[in-house]
């Protein structure tokens, strides 16, 4: 894909998002176009957004992770157990954050080691982790919803800085960091290489296994961050958090233009993908659509959006037959 086609692809996403906003404004007027609503959409997008940015790396590196939702659940539960919370009480709520990040990264490490050194297909490893982590979360929480008691924690993450909610800021930071990491560092270049042609990467002397492991750890960490955000947002930790995140995140990444087979990834596309999905739900709700109709509309819109976007990208790479 030429640079032109690539930027056209992003353009396609921007146009899709723009159209969606036009529809939103036309059908829901003020209620859609208000700052409040914008912030609501962004807040909703931020949790799954963080996971999706992490997922962009794993997929670009040629992997896949079905366990993200489960990892989010386990992290949120572990960080809100009575033990953790009383430690946080004695010390500072940062303990809870640390706990969530550690658990997330730990799960990611297990995934990564099994994929990279155990040489098991990522689909299977993370499917197993999906079952395992959710089960463990249920056992730890005893299937109860654990309430976050630390008000400092809730106020910090629930608050705003200069009118921008902290959650949205976290998302923005993760996205910006992800963009730099993927596009401006050797780590990012190597991720693309390993996803695009692992054998070539190996011959170029890259430590493919170690790098792959790191990618999963990174995603696990993103899941930990998402768990913290979710804990602040819902003031709870439960084993039901992160339900179907795997599908949502992968969908956002793929719609964004990252190749599912690896070797080509875009953080900007992922962010746009997340925003499109979140805005879609928002517009639907503002218009009081029932869930079934929403589902059908969503299916149709996804297909149309991608078709449009492809036509745009193709026009750029025209003579590039096949």
């Amino acid at each position: 894909m030429s640079a032109l086609a690539k930027s056209n692809r992003t353009l396609g996403l921007v146009i899709a998002l723009g159209l969606l906003c036009v529809v939103g404004a036309a059908t829901a007027g003020e209620r859609f176009a208000s700052l409040d609503n914008l912030l609501t959409v962004l807040r909703l997008a931020s949790v799954i957004g963080v996971v999706s940015v992490g997922m962009t790396f794993v997929i670009t590196g040629g992997g896949i992770d079905l366990s993200v939702g489960a990892i989010v659940a386990l992290s949120s539960v572990w960080a809100t157990t009575i033990a953790t919370q009383s430690m946080a009480e004695d010390f500072h709520w940062i303990v809870m954050v640390g706990c969530a990040l550690l658990v997330g990264a730990g799960c990611g490490l297990v995934n990564g080691l099994l994929v990279a050194y155990g040489k098991i297909a990522p689909f299977i490893v993370t499917l197993a982790m999906l079952a395992g982590a959710r089960g463990l979360a249920e056992i730890i929480a005893n299937r109860r919803t654990q309430i976050v008691r630390d008000q400092g924690f809730i106020e910090f993450f629930g608050g705003s800085v200069l009118g921008i909610p902290v959650l949205v800021l976290v998302f923005a930071l993760v996205a910006a960091g992800g963009w730099v990491l993927l596009n401006r560092t050797t780590f990012g270049r190597r991720t693309l290489a390993i996803g695009g042609n692992p054998e070539a990467a190996r011959l170029a002397g890259l430590k493919v296994a170690r790098h792959t492991t790191l990618l999963y750890v990174l995603l696990g960490l993103a899941c930990g961050i998402a768990a913290v955000m979710l804990m602040a947002r819902t003031t709870t930790g439960t084993s039901t958090h992160g339900g179907l995140y795997e599908l949502d995140a992968i969908a956002a990444v793929v719609i964004g233009g990252t190749l599912l087979s690896g070797g080509r990834g875009t953080v900007v596309g992922t962010v746009l993908g997340v925003l499109i999905f979140t805005t879609l739900t928002n517009v639907f709700t503002l218009n009081n659509l029932d869930t079934s109709t929403q589902a059908v509309a969503k299916g149709v819109i996804i297909v149309i959006a991608v078709l449009l976007q492809q036509r745009l990208a193709n026009r750029a790479g025209e003579s590039h037959a096949r």
């Binding site: 270049r189 290489a193 042609n197 190996r202 890259l206 590039h320």
Partner: protein, 510 residues
Amino acid sequence: MTQDTAALGGELLEMRGIVKLFPGVRALDGVDLGVRPGEVHCLLGQNGAGKSTLIKVIAGAHRPDAGEIRWRGEAVALADPQAATELGVATLPQELDLVDGLSVADNIHLGHEHARFGFTRRGRTARATTELLERLGHAEISPSAEVGALSAAQRQIVSMARALSHDASLLVLDEPSAVLDQREVERLFTVIRELTAQGVAIVYISHRLEEIREIGDRVTVLKDGRTVAGGLDVESTPTPEIIRMMTGRAIEYVFPPRSNKIDDAEPMLEVRELALRGAFNGVSFDVKPGEIVGLAGLVGSGRSEIVETVYGARKATGGTVSVDGEPLRPGSVPAAVAAGIGLCPEERKSQALVLGDPVSHNITMAMLDRGGFLDFAAERAAAEELVGALDVRPSDVDREVRTLSGGNQQKVVLARWLLRECRVLLLDEPTRGVDVGARSEIYALVRDLARRGVAVVVVSSEIEEVLGLADRVLVVAEGRVLHAAPAAELTEHDVLDIVLRGIVLRGDAA
């Protein structure tokens, strides 16, 4: 660069008794090789002799099962590619290992990026890239272009630049000239001479013996995974002797005689004003049954695109293709195949073979458009017959194509269309990577097909091959057919003149 060992006349790299086993094959069965600094050491051998495997051992990509490796006199274990790189070995592998999604600059510097604190220094990288590409005479390749969008030859250049980027003291080139035309090969040789003058040692593999004569200092000949002759002086060893060592027999490197009974037949393949936007325009030619038409030209002149468009793999933006008077639906490969056309594409690995499948499946692939049950016995019989006829080694048809040497893979692709019994055969670089012995066999085979009434189109970057094999030659440059003439009336020199200067010096259009 330290030249102590060179001054002592010692060997830079010394390999002794290298053994490499693959399931069911002793790919290397006791190979010895000694490379001195500043020399061009040519590695010769038939397809499957073990050259690439040996190279991979040097590059640290394969670990040998036995044997000793010494570097500047010290025993070393080349445990992984990194170890080899650190010693100062750079490799240009036979199967280009580039990452399609990365830019030219990123590909060249993959693994040894210009970076500070992990951040890539893009300006520096781009400058270094431009420098390398200029050195190879290809300043037109943009450092920021995605490698996936480059032509085969350009990719070869990038791969070459990648090997050069290492500042190595040993540069290993596995068939670097296979996709290059004469002009490119000359440029490559200039670079090689520069390097050897600086004391860099080169291991050079090629099936084009005249290249060995021109650039090589010494040769080592491999046969069936063993060194049959090590470190012979090129000057003093005659070509037939080398061929005899490689093949165990004396082969005349000759083209089969042309037949002359074709002129009165109706054309089998008619191409009229064929055009593909952005690639070529107004291409017209006929091929009669029994005739071989060659397309000569420089790399990137659009020959591959012409044959791919004739075949329907690319959708023509103008013009027609007819077989036996029947016009073909444009842009449809199945229609072309149904009409009796077959194509051996340029890049066997990505365009022709299912690497993980057995040889037999790959050979019968073009027969699958017919529905119904498979006849395993017939499939095996057909595959075995063709493997025998083309002398594919090893001759086991159940072996995954991936594990065959490059030249043998090429034969598998040819076998596919032989089985299909085409009326029109389009061959794009049919002898790329094929050894001397097999080359003669392929030539004979193609001629034999023609004799049986097949219309053949051959694209090759070796002008000698086009002139020797074809009855009639079309000279292509920048997407236009500049000249068409009977092969017998052209010389290599004429063709080069036409493509380089764009003018016809003598002869008239057919």
